[in-house]
Amino acid sequence: MNFRFLRNVIIKGLVLFLLFDLVFAAVNPAALGKVSLYNHLFAGRQRFPFGEDSSQSYNLSLFNLDAMFAAHIIANGPKPADEYRVIIIGDSSVWGILLHPEETLAGQLNAVGLSLCGKTIRVYNLGYPTISLMKDLMVLDYASRYQPDLVIWPVSLEAFPDDKQLSSPIVANNATRVEDLITRYKLPLDPNDPALVHPGLWDNTLIGQRHTLADLFRLQMYGMLWAATGIDQTYPVDYQHAQTDFNTDVTFHNMQPPTLDASRLAFEVLEAGLHLAGGTPVILINEPILISDGENSDLRYNILYPRWAYDEWREMMSARAEAGGWNYLDLWNIVPAGEFTNSAIHLTPAGESMLAGRVDQIILQQSCP
């Protein structure tokens, strides 16, 4: 070995790295998300990857929809012929914050062991802890390839304001998908919204993608612990319960009573979802909320909703459902305040059971595909 040899090794190494980097950037690195050990080496997850404390929850949040679906049990091979496939999209209440997978709405519906049209009803939890109709639409769009027979879509007013549509990280980091949906359904959202992240050439290189690639890899590794333990989130022994005392503020997303401005609510996104589902029936549910009896509860139902705004939105929903022939269930008040956990929309297992008791009846009323 001499110094010239060492110099050549370093130069060649750098050149090879540079070349590999450029090739990597030229192909679509995001497609790597489809490569997954889930559903092959170990079981798919019962719900989407989500979590901040990975070393405790054996889970993590990422924005790669391919990887999220590939890690989900719904991607476990073709749909069985004897399966009546139900998907539930929605926010954190569907995903099941503080709930074990079997305690969520999907888990409880599966536990009942329902069947329809001679097929076993299998319910898939496709909720994700971000409250935005645009996110739901994006998930629904992707999920349609898994041939659902029925879509259950619990929503809440907080998912409707226009400022909630593009701001959540999972939406912002899927700009291409979002732009496509905006164009396809002529949604009144700006495809050039600065919130949407458009990766450049550098972002697509190996160095630019290092965090994304690391996340994809960590997702696979934590999949082993998910399979080994069944744990996909942390369950604190004690947590702060949902607020029941409020101040006198009654504004809602800068809207003042008495009129809720419908033009600032993303009904178009909701309608796009119903349209996207095509022939697949969709059950829209106004999900249960905490109805507080604490201080200033005459002004607010909970920390999310002033009464005036929520009441008006419910009226709008009912009117639009009737006019549009939506399959709409207003279940906003079926769960007592004691069955909420750390937020105005997160239910206890018993609360989820109450909800499931209503939803399973609706599922069984569906006509055969």
């Binding site: 070995m1 110094f3 040899f5 990975s54 590794m221 612990l225 080994a228 333990t229 744990i231």
Partner: protein, 473 residues
Amino acid sequence: MTLALILVSIVVAAMLGLVTQNRWRIPLLLVSCTLAVYAFQPQLPVRGLDFWLPTATLALTTLAWILTTPREQRSWRINWPAAVILGGIVLVLGLTRYLGLSPHLTASRPPQTLQILAGLATVAMVAFLLTRFTKPGKSVLTGAFVFIILIFIVLKVPQLAALVSMALRSLNHQSTSLALAQDLRWLGFSYIAFRLLHTIRDRQSGRLPAVSLSEYVVYVIFFPALTAGPIDRIERFVGDLRRPLALTADDLGEAGKRLVLGLFKKFAVVDVLAMIALNGTNALQVRSAGWAWVLLYAYTFQIYFDFSGYTDIAIGLGRLLGIKLPENFKAPYLKPNLTQFWNSWHMTLTQWFRAYFFNPVTRALRSGKRPLPIPAVIFITQVTTMVLIGLWHGVTLNFVAWGLWHGLGLFVHNRWSDLTRARFTALSPHWQAALNVGGVLLTFNFIALGWVFFALPGLSISVHFLRLLFGLV
């Protein structure tokens, strides 16, 4: 150690190796190593302790040099630069408290200058008294040996460490209720203690070469090997140190290879394995024997790559500085029996225990008036050696259990190989190869099962996990 610290170490080592002329080599190494003792020390909740512990490292090392060096070799005329460098660095680091530097070179803001001056004066006084009034006689050296062992015991017994933390917190007017054993994390003390004990014992037996203060300090706190070894021998180390430094392409190539390999092991392989490796939490969560084995194997490889990665980095850094540190690992998981495993796992530690415990005890047991039978000697020495190695990691029942596991394993293997050696050598090469493969698998799994005690925090959880591994839960 963080990646940033390792990268800084690489840059420093490369600069020292490539730039410095030979006459400045040892002084600059002394400065770098002394600064590293402070820089590597993690922040501690007891006020000022993360400054005082590195200072205590320097004080202990200096005093040990005085005790282990013949009077005629302790000439002030030769050694004053090293003493001034050491004292000067402590003082200058202490003065950085007034510079408002962030981050400090020390883990937190250094204590008040007056306290540091008092500390330095105390060390100087003790050094003066030792120089003036003691000869490095057997009893003094034995006293020093016992003193270092006592510090070690205090640090490694959680209850004692917590008590000391409580006392230090009380002195500092900090809450004693928050005292924890981890408050006394003294970076590198385990390895420093081994080096000091080695020089003291070799001085007692007359094998220690005469070295200057700067050479001695650089040997004890050589920054590449400060946190995780390897434990070199002073005569070999000083031989390299005194040799003129002329880095060749081979040195640079080997250093680069070891550094890249070490960084890859430490920050790619280990970080990945750490996600799924066995720990006190997932041991109670895992639901099936199959997955339990996956977690255990992940830990088995994690601990190997972690430790051998550090060793690669240390060897690479050493090579840049012209020091060929000894190897610590030699494909240990590919060995066909436990004896060979322990000849290739953390080799410098086992060599240390062999030299300073196993061999002397064996000699003592076999050379008395009524020597014990050989199997009894082997049993006693192997079990006690392995239990001591276990206790070196921490004075807990789990480390005792781990030591017993290996001690008994070594004894059984020793007896078995004695019984079967003749038959084994009579076998055809094919059969020998097949038995070797079987031996590798058996040994690997035996070692992996032993890691259960090492990885988990208590005996009951260890037993639970072992039962789970064999489908008994």
